[in-house]
Symmetry: C2
DNA sequence: TAGATTGTTAATCGATTAACAATC
DNA sequence: TAGATTGTTAATCGATTAACAATC
């Protein structure tokens, strides 16, 4: 089949995990892999991997499996990370700083290009070569740098307001590190990272 | 019904999100809430919330809904965060440092009590009052401090080895920030945080 | 060829939703 | 009481898995 819209979101969510495993295999010089090998590495069934990929096209060969480099490239294109997305970070505290310093974005399709904070003492500070801007500059900077993707790393009290400003400035995908559900228009993507949610999920099973 | 084992993992995974919303409502002085209000805040159906909670007991009253403080306390107990879990952090780079500085753990049931790194120049350094220990001290420290929960904040090349050492030292829940799937025995919980996975999930829907 | 593995179909399994009696 | 909302059942919907013909 392939390529139509109507792909289940849960399938889309697994593609980045497949891509990550394929990158690793590339680094390990594997030329070919199979749905079985991939499934074993990721702890999911080979049938699920074949089914997931079948939504987007036919990428393998009977008998030999998948060419790692080829499948990697195909998934990069499907996820639109065959390019570099400029990103904004809002919040220059400890977390914002760590995000800006992280070297794992660029090899996977993203680059932090601007950082904002509303505390006067943080404005002007330089983080990994990027000068922290005041919130007043948000719209102007984002439009100048064509930023559609942003990360929120501010205290929870400020998160909704920041989200509103980002949407206003044209951002269409937000990764929110503040521990709060934010509301955005239906055409804006939101994802959440809250370590405590994961920790509490695990402690359910402990003792 | 309530309280048996056989709760779907997907249901367990939503409880921390419910708990987070209830904390916020507590802070907002809401005394009562309903499955409708909660669902609206979280963007899920009221039926799902009632169904999820029904796995654990009966917490509401017809006509009036749920007492926020009571439901909050019940979910805290279900998730075993009606106590404080001591945690270890492995990796004292930018990310590890940000994790140790994060003040959001303690109010939600967790406290970082030790930090490890294998780089000699980082050992001995103090982060938020905690002295960085060498990896050789891992087993000894974890057992002395009764640590069952750990976070991995090391480069991906080191993550599997660190995970092995943590398991060896008695850790039963691991939150892995390294962008790699790690293997652990079946009785050890693992959760992953990889911001790029979330970003790539969103860029699928962009442009 | 013989062995392996794909892509796909149909069956199974599980999760979500709608509806409503019970009752505060 | 009248209105609201629960907990639960049954129906619906969707996701996963098993199986296999096709074929490299």
């Amino acid at each position: 089949m392939g390529n139509s819209r109507n792909i289940p979101d849960i399938v889309v969510g697994r593609l980045p995990v497949y891509l990550r495993a394929l990158s690793l295999m590339l680094a390990e010089q594997c030329e070919y892999t199979s749905s079985h090998e991939l499934g074993e590495r990721l702890g999911i069934s080979s049938a699920q991997i074949r089914k997931d990929l079948s939504h987007f096209g036919e990428f393998g060969k009977q008998g030999t499996g998948y060419n790692v480099a080829f499948l990697h490239e195909q998934i990069r294109q499907i996820l639109h990370v065959d390019r570099e997305w400029p990103m904004a970070v809002v919040g220059a505290g400890d977390l914002g700083r760590a995000i800006v310093h992280y070297r794992g974005f660029v090899p996977r399709g993203f680059r932090v290009v601007c950082v904002f904070d509303n505390k006067p003492e943080r404005v002007g500070e330089e983080i990994a070569g990027i000068v922290v801007q005041p919130m007043e500059k948000l719209a102007e900077e984002l439009s100048a740098k064509n930023v559609q993707v942003a990360m929120i790393a501010v205290p929870l009290e400020a998160a909704q307001d920041v989200a509103d400003q980002l949407v206003q400035a044209g951002v269409r995908a937000i990764l929110n590190y503040a521990p709060i559900n934010i509301s955005v228009p239906p055409d804006v993507q939101v994802q959440y990272i809250d370590p405590v949610v994961h920790l509490q999920h695990m402690t359910f099973y402990l003792k």
